[in-house]
């Protein structure tokens, strides 16, 4: 019943699950924000996440070290980013198409490795919950915000960090300049290609962590195609968040909170069909997007390859 939804247990449950569900989106979408800010649309996020998820899982399972697993996921993500950077910067490929290519590569490759190296679905003991001293004892708040695993904390710390780097550092200024007007940036001595290499590799690394956050922190299993479109939602969140880390955070939280709300609605037998319930996160996100159309426009050079004029 609807009235059952308004209890403390349910409220805490919704918020705590929303915080968890948003974690992979945050890593992937913040990474994507960096590459889009520099003018590169990376549609391969989903593939990078899948390979990251597999790498983290496989290495953790076989070495027993979650940190080594995480590191491998970052490395694999970075390598995918490096390849993407070569294709977009050096070969100046059409970004939408090459991104899809990288997605398919990640999807196929992670599945192939899973079939050949593991053979069956297994579980690992993932990153444990870390109870922040004192804060985790606060009723309600403690359970929601301060009783999560390390990768969840990391995702939320990444948001202000990303904001700082993008807006308060020279590097951030260069990234934005390259994304807005690469010709002008180039004439002022900014190496456009190098900046884009950096942002795409950073994006890949963060997507790798996003995958790892699923396979060795939140779910602790690996299955074929387990990201199930989350990488594409992350790309959409960058647009939703108008290329601002705080906006991305808002979008990720809105989507995830409504998703956990609908899970609870079904559990509490709120009389609406499940098909409608599962649509809610998508419908609400679209409604909010429509209602708050911002004047912020995309980086001018987004998807445009840079060719130096002689």
């Amino acid at each position: 019943m609807i009235s059952d939804l308004f209890s403390v247990t349910v409220l805490i449950g919704i918020l705590a699950s929303g915080i968890r569900l948003a974690t992979p989106y945050l890593y992937a979408a913040i990474g994507e924000t960096f590459s889009q800010k520099s003018g590169v649309l990376n549609l391969g996020v989903e593939g990078q996440m899948l390979l990251g998820a597999f790498a983290a899982f496989y290495v953790s399972l076989n070495t027993g070290s979650l940190w080594l697993g995480l590191l491998t996921a970052m490395l694999v993500g970075a390598l995918m980013g490096l390849a993407m950077a070569y294709v977009t910067v050096n070969l100046q490929a059409q970004q939408g198409i090459s991104g899809i290519g990288f997605y398919l590569f990640g999807l196929g490759m992670s599945d192939l490795l899973f079939q050949r190296l593991m053979g069956t679905v297994e579980t690992v003991r993932g990153f444990p919950k870390i109870y922040i001293p004192f804060l985790s004892d606060i009723p309600g708040i403690g359970e929601i915000f301060f009783s999560q695993n390390i990768l969840v904390y990391g995702a939320y710390l990444l948001v202000p960090l990303a904001w700082f780097v993008l807006n308060k550092t020279t590097l951030g200024l260069k990234i934005r300049a390259v994304g807005e007007n690469p010709d002008a940036a180039d004439s002022l001595g900014v190496n456009v290609g190098r900046i884009r290499y950096f942002t795409i590799i950073l994006g890949g690394t963060l997507s790798g962590i996003a995958g790892a956050s699923l396979s060795i922190a939140l779910l602790n299993v690996f299955q074929q195609n387990m990201t199930s479109g989350q990488g594409f939602i992350a790309v959409a969140l960058v647009y939703f968040g108008a290329w601002r880390p705080a906006g991305v955070l808002g979008g990720a939280l809105l989507f995830s909170m409504v998703n956990s709300l609908q899970l609870w609605m079904q559990v509490k037998s709120v009389p609406i069909p499940s098909d409608i319930a599962v649509m809610l996160p998508y419908v609400l996100t679209i409604l909010v997007l429509v209602a708050t159309v911002s004047k912020v426009r995309a980086p001018s050079a987004l998807t445009k390859p840079f060719e130096r004029e002689n």
Binding site: Q92, G108, M118, T120, L219, Q224, Q266
Partner: protein, 332 residues
């Protein structure tokens, strides 16, 4: 620019090849060899729907005398229906005796393809619809039967009197299983509360996992679920030490301490009949049901879980009752 396009095409091709790597190509067969091809939506090791078919084919192969007598090939991970349709047509062209479209989503593709290959037999599951085609067999599982048995067991073992169910989409095999499970719980202990959650996806492991966490927070101490994304839910059940009841494939290996029993589909019961019909010249037009009575569904208890003898006896009595018809499962 040309160079980059070339590079991308190679990349795209490479990824296609890689994603199709589950397909094993073998040499053309001698005529007496029975050749089967199967297209499945998820991985052959998904511990659920696709694995149930793969395992059945392996058992049939052993029965019929190995790869010399019975050859099978598969394309797994075909969650994109268009790709699956291409694979089905491709296998039909290659002259396989039986091409199995293992997924209700492949129906309309099969309806289009089958008339073009009148000498090839097709099978489609899970459904009862052969589209009135003389070369399409239909097969399904009476998943509510095992669901009912699981429900009886869960209602007996729950202490908190709250049970959680994680389903994919409220339709077909999944809905049938969940409804059967609920009926089993209600018949055993009507005071038990069954919370059902359909997450709207067969592949979203993250949401299935969060749905399980939600059930546990709502007080569930026993859970079940169906389709391949439940591995996420089983993981959470394992962490929280909550009982799990499996279906489709035997899910004990994933969490030996908490899986009580699994309803396992033994499609070989259905496949055997199809193969013998095909060998005698009937290529389709019939539909089959795997159930507890014909051995197409088997309740496999997890030997590592210390199941109370009385509970096990009750489960066995329930199975017997469904088989001999003394237990009628009333579905909504």
């Amino acid at each position: 620019m040309k160079k980059s396009l070339w590079f991308i095409s190679v990349l795209a091709l490479l990824s296609l090849v890689l994603s199709a790597c589950g397909t094993q190509a073998e040499k053309p067969a001698a005529p007496e060899k029975f050749r089967v091809a199967v297209v499945m939506p998820s991985a052959i090791n998904d511990l659920a729907f696709s694995q149930s078919m793969y395992d059945a084919l392996v058992r049939i192969q052993t029965e019929m005398g190995g790869p010399e007598k019975f050859e099978f090939v598969y394309s797994d991970g075909m969650f994109v229906v268009d790709d699956a349709a291409a694979a089905i047509r491709d296998y039909a062209t290659q002259g396989y005796n039986l091409v199995i479209a293992h997924g209700s989503q492949y129906g309309s593709s099969l309806q289009e393809i089958a008339p073009d290959f009148p000498n090839t037999s097709f099978a489609w599951g899970t459904t009862v619809d052969t589209f009135g085609q003389p070369n399409i067999f239909a097969y399904e599982a009476a998943s509510h039967e095992g669901g009912y048995v699981n429900g009886v067991l869960a209602a007996t073992l729950t202490k908190s009197k709250v049970i959680g169910v994680v389903g994919p989409i409220e339709t077909g095999d999944a809905k049938l299983y969940v409804d059967g499970f609920k009926a089993g719980v209600m018949a055993t202990d009507p005071t038990v509360q069954v919370n059902v959650n359909y997450i709207g996806s067969f592949s979203d492991v993250a949401l299935a996992s969060e749905a399980a966490t939600t059930h546990i927070a709502a007080g569930a101490d026993a859970m079940t679920g169906t389709a391949q994304m439940v591995v996420g839910a089983i993981g959470k059940a394992k962490e929280a030490n909550v009982l799990w009841f499996g279906t489709q494939s035997n899910q004990s290996s994933l969490a030996p301490n908490i899986v009580v029993a699994s309803q396992v589909y033994h499609w070989e019961v259905v496949l055997r009949e199809m193969i013998s019909l095909i060998q005698n010249g009937t290529l389709g037009g019939k539909s089959f049901t795997a159930n507890l009575a014909n051995g197409g569904e088997v309740i496999e208890f997890n030997p590592d879980y210390p199941l109370d003898a009385n509970a096990k006896a009750l489960a066995e009595k329930t199975i017997q009752g469904i088989v001999d018809g003394s237990i009628k499962i009333s579905l909504p």
